[in-house]
Amino acid sequence: MGTAATAIPQAGRSSRSRRRTLTIVGFLLPTVVLLVAVLAIPILWSIGLSFTEWNILTGRDLSFVGLQNYLDMFADDDFLASLKLTLVITAASLAFQFVVGFGTALALAREFRGRGTLTTLLALPMMIAPVVASLQWKWLLSLEYGLVNWALQVLGLSSRAWLSDPATVVQSLIMVDVWHSAPFVMLFLLAGLQSLPTDLYEAASLDGASSWRQLISVTLPMLTPVILVVMIYRSIFTFRMFDQIYVLTGGGPASMTETIAFFAYKAAFQDWTVGYGAAIAVVMLMILVLIGVAYLAVLKTEAMLD
């Protein structure tokens, strides 16, 4: 359905044209006003705030410090550690999200009875609030009472303090994020798989290609655009992960799981150094906008935008 067929053409007569313009403005106004008020203005204000140092508790002592907050940031070992941690978690989580999501999508590709219901059930984790997901996993991973440790003991393995042991805490966080995010990947890749033309597969089968070969040489290349789009999209949300950190570890043990979103929150709302917090938020914003631009670029290249 081409957009030309769905667009209202420019009218010729001026009163019609004026009516059209008024309608456009009227329809767009509520949304634009709201977005300017709740997004544009706060973000601009954040940027401005990042150039200041302000004692928000007393409401006084606002001083303009230029780029000092940014300079402090890149000299701050804690910040750099947080940035590195965030990148590690994002990369690892994305990798597993893809493996689990794609594997599940492949397994669901062929018709069987109850497939629709199973797909919906497997989509549940992504619909559940990250806070709730975190609480569930906190309970499951509990050292004394958790189901996971009990299952490990039954299998003869040792139980661990998953969320308080520095050796296992990062993996646990990744695992919870994958639990929450993989269904999204699964749904999109499944839709992508189902939209692939079957004639290529028939030709490949006739040529004697095995299922594995077909997967590598036919499916993957054709799905690459969808995969790229979905994974870039997911990277945005994994990068800015906050709820899980807050609930599962509170940034611990010993501040080692402070992702950049949590770090910014701590700076602004616990240490009350709002200028610094705003600067971190701006850096996050820049990174995410870069990812967003990459996302749009891929969408455009693959002609997925209209």
Partner: protein
């Protein structure tokens, strides 16, 4: 190898994969619901107890002593308010973006899409400061406005996709018969886009219902929503797992119901509005 054998093997692998993934995906959900119905002594029993007499005491404790009744009402009010506001404003804007090709309409649509990328804190911090001055901290209005930051762009983008998939000829016919733009929207487009509208509304409600970050920063004792109260309970009381699981179940059940109801529209809604176009 023979085609038959290969097909059996891949089916077998698929079955194993689905089994493992189902366990991974659903055990947390099922275990939470089960735990919420267990008497306290069974909750802390090791090895875990599978046979028990179900009880509602955890729910009673959470609701009548833990303040979840208030939080539940708050969550409903904020979610409903966000939904109404963003569906009305967002659908109008989406219609304009889908139907009217004016200069910058494409750009505006992309800008709205890009707003999904912003880190919540860059909006939440100034909002907190503004709201403190304006006395909007801990108000429904403030929280609904905050939730608009992420529900509105989503609604615009999804509804735009749905409107684009409806042929214009039908509205054209209505306007030839004398309808205004708004009239055509009301009588033709909205009924046709109704399934899309329903799916979008549900996503908007879920987004607001699940929000923790804005609620934590912008609400205090009178308007704290379920996610905030649930988490606050964990910190204060430490190990009252029964009540926490009960609260988690209460938060999850509407989501589960909606998801199952939306079954067919789930992928359609996401794909049409989310990634593609």
């Amino acid at each position: 190898m023979s085609w038959r054998l290969e097909r059996s093997i891949t089916s077998g692998i698929a079955a194993v994969v689905l089994l493992l993934v189902s366990v991974y995906a659903l055990v947390p959900v099922v275990w939470t619901i089960l735990t919420s119905l267990k008497p306290v002594k069974d909750i802390l029993a090791m090895p875990p107890v599978l046979m028990f007499i179900p009880t509602l005491e955890n729910y009673q404790e959470a609701f009548f002593k833990g303040g979840f009744d208030r939080a539940f009402v708050n969550s409903v009010v904020v979610a409903a308010g966000s939904m109404v506001l963003t569906i009305v404003a967002g659908s109008l804007a989406a219609y304009a973006l889908a139907r009217f090709r004016f200069r910058g309409s494409g750009l505006l649509a992309y800008v709205i899409l890009m707003t999904r990328m912003f880190p919540p804190i860059s909006a939440a911090l100034p909002m907190f400061i503004f709201f403190q001055r304006l006395g909007l901290v801990d108000t429904y209005l403030g929280l609904i406005a905050a939730h608009t930051t992420f529900t509105l762009p989503f609604v615009v983008w999804m509804m735009r996709g749905f409107f684009l998939s409806i042929p214009y000829s039908l509205e054209e016919a209505a306007m030839v018969d004398g309808c205004s733009y708004l009239g055509a929207l009301r009588h033709v487009s909205v009924p046709l886009a109704a399934p899309g509208l329903a799916a979008t509304s549900i996503f908007a409600v879920i987004g607001s219902w699940n929000d923790f970050f804005f609620a934590m920063i912008l609400s205090r004792s009178s308007t704290s929503t379920l996610p905030v109260t649930v988490n606050g309970f964990l910190l204060e009381h430490g190990v009252l797992w029964g009540q926490i699981n009960a609260a988690a179940t209460v938060m999850m059940v509407p989501i589960i119901v909606f998801t199952l109801l939306m079954q067919r529209n789930l992928v359609k809604g996401l794909v049409v509005g989310g990634v593609k176009g």
